[in-house]
């Protein structure tokens, strides 16, 4: 998945690969991230984008689409 801005700094990477079981949800992805080094600073419900759309925590992660975890937006 892709990481940006402050979250890329937290994990020291702009792209991470995680092994999650089939049927894993957005919430499972966030839980796995929070267990990584640097992950404690991630909020419990960050903005997760699946194929450029905001995903709900219970959404099952589809295969082969772009995932991204986004810090609070600050454009404009």
């Amino acid at each position: 998945m892709l990481l940006f801005a402050r979250y890329a700094e937290l994990f020291g990477a702009e792209r991470l690969e995680l092994d999650l079981p089939d049927g894993a949800t957005v919430a499972d992805l966030v839980s796995a991230l929070r267990e990584l080094p640097g992950g404690v600073a991630l909020p419990a419900l960050p903005f997760v984008a699946v194929a450029h759309q905001r995903a709900t925590p219970e959404m099952i992660l589809p295969e082969g689409v772009e995932l991204a975890v986004l810090p609070p937006l600050a454009g404009g």
Binding site: A5, H52, A68, L73, G75
Partner: protein, 145 residues
């Protein structure tokens, strides 16, 4: 392309949407402020999730043009900006002023709340920090849709 690495060009954006039948033109230009939270800002850097930001900007423009009888030109800077640089410009043209004002306000609030762009400020005291609008309570759009 809505994200620009070069200086934003207000005249070029106006030219995208101004026509003789559109008698009202409303522009919003967001500039880099020299202070934030009591600290003097020296400059800042905008970064973006490029593909998603382009898609969101396109949707915002399309939604505004569906909701109001307007045409919208929109651009947002990324990269390193100095105090006083234009960070974002929205230009809205319409036959009359009311929809142009309403749509322009809605577009800029939608950009702030939906487009994945981040701002890292450099302060005159030497510090740096990511700006988090949710930390101090952000503005919520009040204009339709």
């Amino acid at each position: 392309m809505y994200l620009r690495h070069a200086q934003l060009d207000l005249a070029a954006l106006i030219a995208q949407v101004a026509t003789p039948e559109r008698g009202a033109l409303v522009t919003f230009v967001g500039l880099v402020r020299d202070h934030h939270g009591g600290r003097a800002v020296a400059g800042l850097e905008y970064s973006a999730y490029g593909a998603m930001a382009e898609a969101r900007c396109g949707e915002i423009v399309a939604r505004a043009e569906r909701e109001w009888p307007v045409r919208v030109a929109l651009a947002h800077r990324v990269g390193t900006l100095a105090v006083g640089d234009a960070a974002v410009i929205a230009v809205v043209a319409s036959a009359h002023r009311a929809p142009a004002f309403d749509a322009c306000r809605w577009v800029i609030e939608a950009v702030k709340s939906e487009v994945p762009i981040w701002k890292r400020e450099r302060y005159r005291d030497g510090g740096e920090g990511w700006v988090d609008p949710t930390a101090s309570g952000g503005f919520q759009p009040t204009v339709k849709p």
